[in-house]
């Protein structure tokens, strides 16, 4: 959808977001919506990398972890101001993305995907083994909530505003970027790299830029996650989460910002729907047993029959 339609949808959702916590008291539904936003952010980032730079990153979870741990360690262990730590986490992830991206982004396709995968797993091992700082596998507790003067973001409703506010802000900014000169250049690079270079576009720098932007957005979500859960440990940031993000983007349709959010919502809702519905169908209390197979089938089905994803159903996704 073009720029004007996006701005209308954005403002409509913003109104919904403002009102939602007042209408919904159940912390469970609010928490689910918060997790949708916290998954939507990295999904939007990954959608930019896959949809515009045309590359697959299998290590996006690492940037989520960097955001979470920088925020968590600085506030829980060193008592920093939450917002400063959040900013530093985003900056650290961006810097790491530049250092990692510079050599890796000259690769393409398979090798790039595998290099990002290796990078993601190495970061996971650092989290597990650098226990002096990260608390190792038993994690880090006591991450204080974010505060604005006396106002503390310590309830699900307030975190809902913060998480969805960040998501909508990022959607607005990346939406503007997609419609701008930079966005066109990105689509040109993805369309035909040689032709893009011939009109003066520095394709390597642009692809790296998207990778760094995606890392920053993902780290922001990581920081908010740390303050929301108040406890972080390495296990949610392993290779499995990078694949889950990939599923969200493929479901949503790469190169579609709203599609990525739709993909994130589908994945989070599917897990909870499975948990609620499944015990009625089978004796097994363990819904998760079926979850892994379901995600695998979904990923294969969408790649085979609907590569443009759920958002592909919408008019030409921007």
């Amino acid at each position: 959808m073009g720029a004007p339609e996006r701005r209308v949808v954005l403002s409509a959702v913003a109104v919904l977001v403002a009102g939602a916590p007042l209408a919904v008291e159940s912390r469970y539904l609010l928490a689910m919506l918060v997790f949708i936003a916290l998954n939507g952010l990295p999904a939007v980032g990954l959608s930019l990398v896959m949809g515009f730079a045309g590359q697959v990153s299998l290590g996006q979870a690492a940037f989520f972890a960097v955001g979470a741990y920088v925020s968590g360690v600085l506030t829980a262990t060193h008592g920093w101001n939450g917002w400063l730590a959040l900013l530093l986490g985003v900056a650290a992830a961006a810097a790491l993305a530049v250092v990692v991206g510079l050599p890796i982004f000259r690769l393409s396709g398979l090798l790039l995907a595998m290099a990002t995968l290796a990078f993601g797993i190495i970061v996971y091992y650092v989290l597990v083994n650098w226990s002096a700082v990260t608390g190792g596998p038993s994690g880090l507790a006591g991450v204080p909530p974010l505060t604005l003067g006396r106002f503390r973001f310590d309830t699900d409703a307030r975190m809902f505003w913060l998480a969805w506010g960040s998501l909508l802000g990022v959607l607005a900014l990346t939406g503007n970027l997609v419609d701008s000169r930079i966005g066109r250049a990105l689509r040109a690079v993805h369309g035909n790299e040689a032709a893009a270079a011939a009109v003066g576009i520095d394709t390597a720098r642009l692809k790296l830029g998207v990778f760094v932007l995606a890392a920053a957005i993902t780290a922001l979500a990581g920081g908010l996650y740390a303050h929301y859960l108040t406890f972080i440990n390495p296990s949610p940031f392993g290779f499995g989460y990078s694949v889950e993000l990939l599923v969200m983007v493929v479901l949503g349709g790469a190169a579609s910002l709203w599609g990525a959010v739709l993909g994130a919502a589908t994945v989070v809702l599917l897990v909870e729907a499975l948990r609620a519905v499944l015990p009625l169908l089978t004796a097994a209390h363990g819904a998760a047993e079926y979850e892994i197979a379901l995600f695998g089938l979904l990923l294969m089905a969408f790649m085979l029959f609907r590569p443009s994803g759920l958002a592909g159903l919408a008019p030409r996704a921007s």
Partner: protein, 292 residues
């Protein structure tokens, strides 16, 4: 750092290296012919191990159970290629990669539903205490691992160089179009390639299962290590992949023994990043072949 210790690291490294070599060979054969990096290669290893566990639990003798496991998983691999992957031959390589990731998750999920989460024990092929080799201890099953690996390499070498269909497969690897012009049914050769790749993976899984047990989620890490070994060998040449497998197994074991065991698994991924960087700087003596 006594000689026995070094010998011990080399021996256990070689045994695990044999497993990586088998898996890497599976990657190279599948990629060489169908230009697909099969992210689900590790799951064939898991299926081989679980099939072995199920059959031996029902009293089937080791050699028969081994053969059945390898054949059934090989057939499954061919079916997976024919059904899900062949229709996508013209799709971009990344779409196919994501499809194999989906396949890997689906296989793992179904294995979880069928076999549950508990590890299943598998009796060793031959009973008896471990053997001393140059001061280092080697489990009897380790001989079976190296034996199966060696037998597979020789069999495949004979198949590729001494038989007509072997030559046909090689022709497809070199130039699919030319092979098609020569009347070789390239798509049937693709199915054969995946049959071999899945069979090799299953063989690795079946022969290592007495040492590592069989669990639904053992495939991922073994598959990734196999891929690193294949990339070390340039993703194209079978002998280089075998060498890459053994090299990775030994390097890991030495790193755990000499440096620190905490980073044992990370070694493989640091190696993968280094290979990718060398590829970028052109420092590699051999090019890691990109997708088609």
């Amino acid at each position: 750092m006594t000689a026995e210790q070094i010998a011990q690291y080399l021996i256990s490294g070689a045994v695990v290296g044999g497993i990586y070599a088998l898996i890497a060979l599976g990657f190279v054969i599948a990629f060489g012919i169908t230009r697909i990096v099969n992210f689900a290669q590790g799951e064939f290893v898991m299926l081989g191990a679980l099939a072995m566990a199920t059959l031996s639990a029902r009293g089937v003798r080791a050699p028969v159970a081994f053969a059945c496991s390898v054949v059934s998983v090989a057939a499954f691999g061919a079916l997976l290629y024919r059904g899900a992957l062949q229709p996508l031959t013209r799709a971009p390589a990344l779409a196919v990669l994501i499809l194999t990731i989906g396949a890997s998750i689906t296989i793992r999920g179904v294995a979880l539903i069928l076999w549950g989460t508990d590890p299943l024990a598998v009796p060793a092929f031959a009973a008896g205490p471990p053997v001393l080799v140059a001061g280092a201890v080697m489990v009897r099953q380790g001989f079976w691992v190296l034996g199966v690996a060696a037998a597979s390499f020789v069999a495949l070498w004979w198949f590729f160089t001494r038989t007509y269909s072997g030559a046909a497969v090689q022709a497809c690897a070199v130039n699919p179009l030319a092979a098609r012009l020569m009347g070789i049914r390239v798509d049937r050769v693709g199915v054969l390639a995946w049959l071999l790749a899945a069979g090799l993976g299953a063989a690795a899984g079946a022969v290592i299962s007495p040492i590592t047990y069989a669990t639904y989620d053992m495939g991922l890490m073994l598959g990734l290590k196999g891929f690193v070994a294949a990339v070390l060998g340039g993703l194209v040449s079978p002998p280089a992949a075998i060498a890459g497998g053994f090299l990775l197994g030994v390097v890991e074991s030495l790193a755990a023994g000499l440096v620190s065991s905490a980073y044992k698994d990370a070694v493989a991924f640091v190696v993968l990043v280094l290979v990718c960087l060398a590829q970028v700087l052109g420092a590699l003596p051999w090019r890691v072949v990109e997708e088609g």
